[in-house]
Symmetry: C2
Subunit: 264 residues, 2 copies
């Protein structure tokens, strides 16, 4: 299988690293910027280009790993034969956005957080796949197995829900880690203090539902400690408002515990 | 060293488990309720009681691991000699609350989340210690080394700040995991999908500052995706309000990035 990678950002970079140690042949890398194309191309020893018209015409799969907002433009500029199989890697964009460029299209969305400096092991990464024909879905599944055993077939709507859930599982908790670090540093205490706690909290929910392992002042309805904490943050500071808001969410969720399926 | 454990809740239970595999001798366990005292006592093969007046009089250390709200009453009921060394395990209570029961007192606060069903390895757990004399602080440090190498000496005020930071590092993220689970289950998708993401997010901040690894629509200021997500949650639902609130916090934090130390 011969693959062309369109995009050399965080996702593209990690895909390229992984492909180079797999049995799939990465034949070309494109990036809008010369330096990104060159850096990644030289790193993985794959030819690179910054010109979409120079894309290899006969690859089996074109993976477009660019930011959502850049997808429509890139698609309109691609000049491949319409029988070339193109997928994007985006959670937030629909599959149909690719229709302008090909008759064979799909989505290969790896559900993980990618930072350029942090290595990714794909073996455990859930891959959310979609394609416009059963044949290409099968082809995409075969390709995906080179990355991970955790393969999920889902349509665009489901994938968008997964992306939304991922914001709550990743981006928001990470922001709260940042608040925790700020609070500690404000008192000249090291962030190291809470790192084992962060790890343990994440590990617990690998086996148990978060609802079952919720601890802390809000889940104990310990209003004395809650008031102390808000005082400590300084009433009417942004962090005190954040603390109050999240505490109220937990208190509400306790109150709703026995109600049938109520998200509101 | 001979230790008496007062309390058989989550913290007490894990302390007892650990002590039984250490060189410290746990000589007695007290719990208010017969069933808790018996369950833990039989499990670790240590004598137990539900009567505070029956506490062994000559232990080297009395660890009081009871909920904050129960501490004052238990202290007033203890009838030990005033030269017995008593510590509590609470983040939220001051050390001085123990003064009523003894002239030698301190705090042994293990900074971890304890669930009865989930084993705890103490070797990496930060222990926050405090004592009212240098001699007893040294004794407490010796005791703590049986648990962990990560020993922090800090006064009550610092410990309360650590506890507050822990709420942001543990309780609030865990609640957000719960929201993520709800969103997925609402669309009949498995929570398994985001588990690797949760783990990776927690592992990243073990080495890098959360600020450096923040990703997602808010940190990209991707207002199109943010609006889509809020629509998907249903405008004016509790989860949409939560999403908006946290997104605004992240946007504000980007705007404040270059300001000097501003928590507000």
């Amino acid at each position: 299988m011969r693959v062309v990678l369109v995009g050399a950002g965080n996702v593209g970079t990690h895909l390229a690293y992984h492909l180079c140690s797999s049995q799939v042949k990465l034949v070309q890398i494109w990036s809008r910027t010369e330096v990104s194309a060159r850096t990644l191309g030289e790193r993985v020893e794959v030819p690179f280009t910054t010109t979409l018209d120079d894309l290899s015409a006969d690859a089996d799969l074109y993976i477009v790993a660019v930011p959502d907002h850049a997808l429509p433009e890139i698609m309109s500029l691609l000049s491949l034969q319409r029988d070339r199989f193109i997928v994007h890697t985006s959670a937030g964009s629909s599959m149909d956005i690719l229709r302008i460029a090909s008759d064979r299209y799909g989505v290969f969305y790896p559900l993980q957080t990618f930072s350029r400096t942090h290595p990714v092991r794909f073996s455990n990464v859930p891959l959310c796949l979609e394609a416009n024909t059963a044949g290409d879905l099968a082809l995409l599944k075969d390709f995906a197995r080179h990355f991970s055993r955790r393969i999920y077939i889902m349509d665009t709507e489901k994938r968008k829900t997964v992306h939304l859930a991922a914001v709550f599982a990743n981006n928001f908790p990470n922001y709260l880690y940042q608040v925790s670090e700020d609070i500690l540093h404000g008192e000249k205490l090291p962030f190291d203090l809470v790192k084992p706690l962060i790890r343990e909290t994440a590990m617990k929910v690998q086996r148990q539902s978060p609802r079952q392992v919720q601890t802390g002042p809000a889940s104990r309805e310990d209003h004395a400690i809650i008031s102390q904490h808000i005082e400590r943050l300084g009433r009417d500071t942004a962090y005190a408002r954040l603390y109050s808001f999240l505490t109220q969410c937990i208190l509400d969720s306790l109150a709703n515990k026995n109600k049938p399926h109520d998200h509101a």
